[in-house]
């Protein structure tokens, strides 16, 4: 897999949108498939269906506790520069309702660009 992990180790440019989208989509699928410990067909499909315009609320039915879990996964993968929890804390209710995967991807890319 083409990965952006370890950019601090000398890779200068922040990862492109497509790469980050793929990684974020995988992490979202992981959050949504947390408890049964089995890879069912239904869960395998989630990652493939996620695009920049997918909304976390309406489309993916993620709840506030799922966003917290996603924050932890993002930080684990990208390091402490990517702080989704802090980003979410600044959002109004309406912005959370409209939150798209694209906004998360943009947040990750800008956080990585700032840190490099």
């Amino acid at each position: 897999m083409n990965t952006s992990q370890g950019t601090a180790g000398g890779a200068p440019a922040p990862p492109d949108e497509r790469t980050v989208l793929g990684e974020v989509a995988q992490m979202i699928a992981g959050v949504l498939d947390d408890d049964t410990g089995t890879d069912t067909d239904a869960s395998a499909d989630i990652g493939a269906d996620i695009g920049m315009d997918t909304t976390l609320g309406d489309d993916l039915e993620m709840e506030s506790i799922d966003l917290v879990a996603l924050s932890a996964r993002l930080e684990e993968w990208y390091g402490p520069r990517v702080n989704l929890a802090e980003y979410l804390a600044g959002l109004e209710l309406d912005e959370i309702i409209e939150l798209t995967v694209g906004r998360i991807v943009a947040h990750v890319r800008s956080a990585l660009a700032e840190g490099s």
């Binding site: 949504l32 498939d33 947390d34 408890d35 049964t36 410990g37 089995t38 069912t40 067909d41 239904a42 869960s43 989630i46 976390l56 609320g57 309406d58 039915e61 993620m62 709840e63 506030s64 506790i65 799922d66 966003l67 917290v68 924050s71 929890a85 979410l88 804390a89 600044g90 959002l91 109004e92 209710l93 309406d94 959370i96 309702i97």
Partner: protein, 404 residues
């Protein structure tokens, strides 16, 4: 003898525990009256209850079905609970004037109870029938919490005592929580005094007949109860069908009773055989006493009733308080969470295998059961209300400003 006014929303899961507490108070010689929607209360309380009628908002069952997450939260407060408070306030005010309660027991989500109490300077205790507010599920979203606070401040300006400072969802005197810290955690620090009494499981009207013969033929097979509660009845067809398939795939080792009040299951899944029994109404408390696992939507009442019997759960939260309650269940180790919108038969089946085969979930459920049974339930709640009403008569509290 003290007089208690119970203020409740037209929601089954909020009225049942209050009703159990009211019966305990009546048995101790106190008088209880109700403020709420007369039709809903007649159905849930039966004849003989003293009901002071309040107007109702649009039915919560009418809300758009696809609302989830933060959008469901916005709808719940903006389009249901706030209009409910405005609609009920005149009826609650009239009830207080006619009945003259020593103490108001106000449901946490029926904000009219708390706000009219503070305006008329009657002491009130909060009835917390779903503990999701205590779980801090919005702790990572401070602006959402602020949005709710400002909505409540607006309601206070209209209906309450403008000088009051406490959060109307938590009485400064006492909040009775129908759960325990073992399941909920300690609760927020700024919530005012909390008293955990565990589930209040009163008597329910007996169902005329049920297929106990069928249940009795389980033999060595494990018995699973599948229910999505009373407030999500139209949503569940696909999910219930997945549950039915999962159980049929494992019919060598399990069978299931499925509650389907709205007839949401496709006809093909509904046929009766030795493996699956589908009914529009089921005697849930009695079935839980015999069940080995429950698949449900993580409604507060269903979860606490299951854990009262030490039964482990597969939880598929749909919305509102359910994701937070589901997180309480998995946090306590008493169950497995799956996705309501996506779970297929394989996923439900894998979750059932886990809670039935891995003894850790049943062991955790029994730990929560021990905490529930030690907490005292409806009698403990009634005793606390009685004590507080007595204290207030002796030493009226000064925190409720009288408004001319």
């Amino acid at each position: 003898m003290s007089r208690f006014l119970f203020v409740v929303p037209p929601l089954t899961g909020h009225v049942h525990p209050a009703s159990a507490v009211a019966a305990e108070l009546a048995a101790r010689g106190h008088r209880v009256a109700w403020a709420g929607q007369p039709d809903a209360l007649a159905r849930l309380l039966g004849p003989g209850a003293e009901v002071h009628p309040c107007a109702g908002p649009p039915d919560i069952a009418d809300r758009p079905r696809d609302l989830r997450g933060a959008a469901a939260l916005r709808y719940l407060w903006q389009d249901f609970l706030a209009p409910l408070a405005r609609a009920m306030a005149p009826g609650v005010t009239a009830a207080v004037r006619e009945f003259g309660p020593d103490l108001i027991f106000a449901d946490q989500q029926t904000v009219a109870g708390a706000l009219v109490a503070e305006r008329l300077a009657v002491p009130f205790v909060t009835s917390c029938t779903t503990s999701a507010e205590l779980s801090g599920s919005l702790s990572g979203l401070p602006r959402v919490a602020e949005w709710i606070s400002s909505l409540l401040a607006g309601l206070r300006a209209e209906l309450g005592a403008p000088g009051a400072r406490h959060d109307p969802r938590y009485s400064p005197l006492q909040t009775l929580v129908f759960s325990t810290e073992e399941l909920v955690g300690p609760g927020p620090r700024d919530a005012g005094p909390l008293h955990f009494v565990g589930p209040a499981l009163g008597r329910r009207p007996a169902l005329p007949a049920f297929d106990w013969d069928w249940v009795g033929r389980s033999g060595e097979r494990r018995l699973v109860l599948v229910t999505l509660g009373t407030a999500n009845t139209g949503l569940g067809g696909r999910f219930l069908a997945a549950c039915v398939s999962a159980v049929r795939d494992r019919s060598d080792r399990m069978r299931a009773v499925v509650a389907d009040p709205a007839g949401a299951l496709p006809a093909a899944s509904r046929h009766r055989d030795g493996d699956v029994l589908v009914r529009t109404a089921v005697p849930q408390p009695d079935l839980l006493a015999m069940a080995d696992a429950v698949v449900c939507h993580a409604g507060h009442n269903t979860v606490t009733e299951a854990l009262w019997h030490g039964v482990p759960l597969v939880v598929a939260p749909i919305r509102d308080d359910q994701p937070a309650i589901a997180a309480q269940v998995t946090g306590a180790g008493a169950g497995v969470r799956i996705r309501f919108a996506r779970a297929d038969a394989a996923c439900v089946g894998a979750a059932l295998d886990r809670v039935l085969d891995d003894g850790s979930h049943a062991a955790a459920a029994r730990r929560v059961r021990a905490s529930f049974r030690a907490a005292g339930g409806a009698p403990a709640a009634a005793a606390r209300l009685q004590e507080l009403a007595h204290d207030e008569e002796e030493q009226p509290c000064q925190q409720h400003p009288e408004v001319p």
